[in-house]
């Protein structure tokens, strides 16, 4: 009914472990991505969310753990966090948390823009994805370009309204460069490339 079409689902089947990297426009992004995963991978895949947003209240932590196994991370610049919610998190060491998941053979869903930006605009990426791929060079990343979900359920909207949207899943790739900054721009370009390829086919 909402009109989200998912292309390239078969790209998710090649790897047992991966990091999905996508642009972020809406809460629906996570749901759409998770719904396209096969079940045995789904239970081992964790969307990465900031504790500043999802850790605000106890019930939000509980809700996001129940439905989407979220890993909450605390970013350096996030200061005000509900102390009660903090108890549910292992530590404030964000990367350590994510590495633990990867070491267990689990997968991650990453939104390197860090927040839901303006629709159809790719903002600058945060460094976290670069650091992670630098430390785990054997893990494939899967670039995903999402368009239109920001219209269905934009930032701050209470309920979704049907519009057409698409989730385009790219081919799994390994990082080429070694520097964190270069990895970040490599990942970012791979996402932009999906959109370009689609427009000029």
């Amino acid at each position: 009914m909402l009109g989200i079409k998912i292309y390239g689902k078969q790209n998710l089947k090649f790897q047992e472990q991966f990091i999905i990297v996508a642009n972020h426009n809406s809460h629906l992004d996570t749901i759409a991505l998770m719904s396209s995963l096969p079940h045995h991978l789904l239970i081992k895949t964790h969307p990465v969310a900031t504790a500043q947003y999802f850790g605000r209240k106890k019930w939000l932590v509980w809700l996001s753990n129940l439905f989407v196994n979220t890993v909450l991370i605390q970013r350096k610049e996030d200061v005000e966090i509900d102390p009660e919610a903090l108890q549910h998190m292992d530590s404030s060491k964000a990367l350590a948390l994510l590495e633990k998941k990867l070491a267990n053979g689990h997968s991650l869903i990453f939104f390197p823009e860090g927040t839901r930006g303006e629709p159809e605009k790719l903002h600058d990426f945060r460094k976290g994805i670069g650091v992670l791929l630098q430390r785990y060079p054997q893990i494939h990343y899967i670039p995903v370009f999402i368009r239109g979900t920001g219209k269905i359920l934009p930032k701050g909207a209470l309920f979704p309204i049907p519009f057409e949207a698409s989730v385009r899943i790219g081919k799994p790739q390994l990082k080429n460069s070694n520097l964190v900054e270069e990895i970040v721009s490599e990942v970012r370009n791979s996402i932009l490339l999906i959109e370009l390829m689609n427009n000029y086919k």
Binding site: K151, I161, K201
Partner: protein, 307 residues
């Protein structure tokens, strides 16, 4: 055999014929237009299934199917529209709500409410809701664009559904089902006729900037074929031979007008360029473009003459 059953057989025959024809055509001389026609035949199979199930099972299936068709078309138009603003989101939600109301009026056959609901009520409600939101920048554009979307996708297509609610006429047992089959079948056939005649004999472009594939030869050839088809299919209607010919003329012209109007809109939104459609955006509008105008014109042609 009853006329409707005859028509079902004719439709199945034509569909099989068209499917095979375009399949072979695509093997011999593949082109973007032929694959477009193949896509069209595919959607006719879907439409035919809806009609046949409605004719043989229950008309309510048709109302639900047409309402859904309107919904998908409106969603597509609202998504590709570059004229609607992001703040119009909530108002577009109300536009969606108009669909069940309009189709309810069609289902119960309340004709007065049916014809005034969108052009009068929604035409007022949408600007009013926009005004309440308070963003006046570009508001006039949204005020005109959203009701136009509703007219093109909901008001027009709902006339197909209303055909099924028309009262019975003495001496015309086929009723609305026959009329529905008649208009949809002829409109779609008109597209095929125009396409085929244009391909075979087309030289002189009609409006190159909007639709580069439309030629006078295709248009006239399609028109004559459609008029002839209308003459032979008049057993589905209460028409006399003369009226049937006139009706064929009306369907051919209004189908053409709908086609180029939707083409022009899509061109404006940057979706259509030199006849190619971006993958994933071909969508439902391309399938129903001719019906957008021919459905209401045919409806009032019949309604004013016979009901």
């Amino acid at each position: 055999m009853s006329p409707v059953l005859q028509m079902v057989v004719v439709i199945l025959g034509v569909l099989v014929f068209a499917t095979v024809l375009f399949w072979i055509w695509n093997k011999i001389q593949p082109s973007a237009q032929v694959s477009e026609m193949m896509l069209r035949t595919k959607s006719w199979w879907v439409m035919a299934t809806i009609f046949v199930s409605a004719a043989l099972v229950h008309p309510l299936i048709s109302f639900a199917a047409f309402a859904f068709l309107s919904f998908v078309a409106l969603r597509e138009l609202a998504s590709i529209s570059k004229n609607a603003r992001t703040v119009d989101r909530n108002v577009i939600f109300w536009a969606y709500l108009a669909i069940p109301v309009q189709y309810y009026f069609a289902y119960v056959g309340w004709h007065d409410a049916f014809i005034i609901f969108i052009p009068v009520f929604m035409f007022t409600l949408i600007p009013f809701l926009l005004v309440i939101q308070g963003h006046t920048q570009d508001i006039a554009r949204s005020m005109s664009v959203i009701p136009t979307h509703l007219m093109l996708t909901v008001f027009s297509i709902s006339h197909l559904a209303y055909l099924l609610s028309l009262p019975e006429l003495k001496g015309f047992e086929v009723g609305g089902r026959g009329l529905l089959l008649f208009v949809v079948f002829l409109t779609e056939m008109n597209d095929v006729f125009q396409f085929t005649w244009g391909k075979l004999t087309g030289r002189h472009k009609i409006i190159e900037k909007v639709s580069p594939n439309k030629t006078w030869e295709g248009f006239i050839g399609g028109l004559l074929s459609t008029v002839a088809a209308a003459y032979f299919l008049r057993f589905l209607t209460p028409f006399s031979p003369i009226i049937a010919l006139l009706c064929g003329l009306l369907i051919a012209c209004s189908g053409f007008v709908g086609d180029i109007i939707v083409s022009a809109i899509k061109r404006d939104f940057g979706i259509k360029d030199t006849g190619t459609v971006i993958k994933g955006h071909g969508g439902i509008l391309d399938r129903i473009d001719s019906l957008v105008i021919s459905a209401p014109f045919f409806f009032y042609f019949v309604y004013l003459l016979y009901y």
